[in-house]
């Protein structure tokens, strides 16, 4: 028999990182499939290129050493898929590859690999390309274009380092005006047009330039929450706080502000709430902290959407909340059992702070003495010197 000597923890759950990540990837598959169904070949290629660039970057840094985790733990695949889902489908592929490299290198590897990152890597990648290519990332194309399964959106196939190929002529060819590619949020922000609920929910009707279907994301997220691969508190807190803030503003002024339903189901809020904000390494572990964290994201999202120059604010909201996570964890530490306010009330701090069982005799009562430490008795003195 071999005895393994090591420090705690000695009892581990049956779940491994790899298992959790694999389930998240499986649950993302229907969402990706629908995204491809919406936008055709370009979306498929975008998903592939971004994921592959994430994987290659991950492999490079894992090979270099000094990293935790390894290439097989599926986490880079999640980063790649989420990043691609949050980009416009016709985003030039070379920019997508840049986003993938930055996501893993800057968002994850520099912090020391999986589990050490402060910010969600996919969002780091997206924030970088948002800052670097502000025009390309705002140009969506209509969904359900005829012929989307055998031709690419022209901007996808841009030569590396070059400006995205203009899609205006391509759209006119298919009797769409150039503004058909605006997302519902951009349409609301810049033109004051509100999208209908059914368009937002299923994104099946019309040629609305929407992201992946929110209903599908909610279903897949519910599966993950049910299997306890993500904590339901975070999405619930985000959607609750965003909905509540939007509803209060809507009640104050229903002309200026859109209804809360539009707030919840447009843009990337659902995707962010279910898949990005729940990243285990970057969200609080304390239950109370999760509520605070989620509420912060929801509130910030609505504020950015209403009061800033940007139409969409989920990304920055989550990144800011990621940065606040250590602080949130610190102030929401749960009280150990028996250490609460009530049990300390009117009592001196000294002595046992837990209620003693009447049958228990403390060491002091029994007059026990702590034996001297003898553990190092057989320790070799000094290694012999040459």
């Amino acid at each position: 028999m071999t005895i393994e000597i090591r420090s705690a923890p000695h009892i581990k759950g049956t779940r491994s990182v790899e298992q959790i990540m694999r389930h998240v990837v499986w649950s993302l598959m229907p969402i990706c499939a629908f995204f491809v169904f919406q936008y055709g070949l370009s979306a498929l290629l975008s998903l592939l290129v971004v994921t592959v660039s994430c994987l290659l970057t991950e492999r490079f840094f894992v090979r270099q050493g000094g990293q935790s985790g390894d290439i097989g733990d599926f986490s880079a695949i999640i980063t790649g898929l989420l990043l691609a889902l949050s980009l416009p489908p016709g985003f030039p592929l070379w920019m997508g590859a840049v986003a993938g490299i930055v996501a893993i290198a800057l968002g994850k590897a520099l912090f020391g690999g999986i589990g050490f990152n402060v910010f969600n890597p996919a969002l780091i990648g997206r924030a970088f390309v948002q800052a670097a290519f502000p025009q390309a990332i705002a140009s969506y194309t209509p969904s359900f274009m005829p012929g989307r399964f055998y031709e690419f959106i022209p901007s996808s196939m841009t030569i590396p380092l070059m400006q995205p190929v203009s899609v205006v002529a391509w759209l006119q060819d298919r009797q769409f005006d150039a503004l058909a590619g605006a997302t519902p949020l951009a349409k609301w922000k810049f033109e004051g047009v509100l999208a209908n609920a059914d368009e937002l929910l299923t994104s099946l009707s019309g040629h609305m330039a929407v992201g992946p279907s929110p209903v599908l994301i909610l279903v897949c997220g519910a599966y993950l929450a049910f299997r306890r691969f993500l904590d339901w508190r975070i999405p619930a807190a985000i959607l609750g706080s965003a909905g509540l803030t939007a509803w209060m503003l809507f009640a104050l002024n229903d002309v200026r502000f859109p209804n809360p339903f539009f707030m919840l189901f447009s843009g990337g809020l659902i995707l962010g709430a279910v898949y990005m904000a729940t990243d285990m390494a970057t969200s609080p572990v304390t239950p109370k902290g999760m509520w605070v964290y989620g509420a912060l994201i929801g509130l910030l999202t609505v504020i950015i959407r209403y009061y800033s120059g940007l139409p969409e604010g989920v990304m920055y909201a989550i990144l800011i909340a990621n940065a606040a996570t250590p602080l949130i964890e610190k102030i929401t530490q749960p009280t150990p059992f028996g250490k609460g306010v009530l049990s300390n009330f009117g009592r001196q701090k000294k002595g046992a702070s837990y209620p003693l069982h009447s049958g228990y005799i403390s060491r002091e009562d029994a007059g026990a003495v702590t034996p001297k430490k003898r553990f190092l008795f057989n320790k070799p003195k000094q290694p012999p010197k040459e």
Partner: protein, 229 residues
């Protein structure tokens, strides 16, 4: 070699003041000679920079004359000798073409943009009563977004922009305003660039503010400016 051991003693105040005074005098001498040495070149550079900026907005101009317009409505030429500063006077440049006829008037305007003040120089065409074009003097707008005001074809198509005065020459008949992209209906409106609305608005405000202030002072004296003095 350089082992001149400095004894660990404190220096007397007189010695300190003497040394500091000596060094200050030396530094003062260096600064004054640098100032004297570069004075002419700096002036020439500034003149060329102004000229180049004016020629850019008034393409037909071949020479410029600098004026100030005082609040009382007088227009005084700023000569080489320099004019006594009148409080509230606004500077402008008159550009003259190769026949020494007035080609246009260049005025500087300032308005708050996205990240800092946007300073522009715009040309007023007295014959057509329009703003014929503009150039940026300084701006810290976001590259790729805010700096499109100089290259965006739709935005540049806003010029010439109507800048007529009311009959009593007291103010602009129609204030110059920047409107949302695609909703320009009148010749005195500026069609904003999508995504760079704030910078577009800054251009409109800069032109409007400067024109409201300056044009009522200049236009009554246009005949005096017709020929190059």
């Amino acid at each position: 070699m350089t082992s001149a051991v400095i004894p660990p003693q404190t220096t007397s105040a007189v010695a300190m003041i003497r040394t500091l005074g000596l060094i200050a005098a030396l530094c003062g001498f260096i600064i004054v000679s640098a100032y004297q040495g570069t004075y002419d070149a700096v002036r020439e550079n500034k003149r060329i920079a102004v000229e180049r900026a004016v020629f850019k907005v008034i393409p037909t101009a071949r020479s410029i004359v600098e004026y100030v317009a005082s609040p009382a409505g007088e227009i005084v030429k700023v000569g080489a000798g320099g004019t006594a500063a009148v409080s509230g006077a606004v500077k402008f440049y008159a550009g003259y073409d190769k026949d020494n006829k007035l080609a246009g008037i260049a005025v500087e305007g300032v308005a708050k943009g996205y990240s800092d003040n946007v300073r522009i120089l715009f040309a007023y065409d007295p014959a057509a009563q329009t703003v014929s074009g503009f150039g940026v003097v300084t701006s810290r707008e976001t590259p790729g977004i805010g700096d499109k005001i100089l290259v965006d074809k739709n935005f540049l198509a806003n010029f010439p922009l109507e800048a007529k005065l009311t009959a009593d020459l007291k103010k602009l008949a129609n204030a110059i305003v920047t409107v949302k992209h695609g909703s320009k209906t009148n010749p005195w409106e500026i069609d904003a660039i999508t995504g760079a609305t704030i910078t577009s608005r800054a251009v409109g405000r800069a032109i409007n503010d400067a024109a409201q202030l300056l044009l009522p002072r200049i236009v009554p004296h246009l005949s005096a400016l017709k020929e190059k003095p």
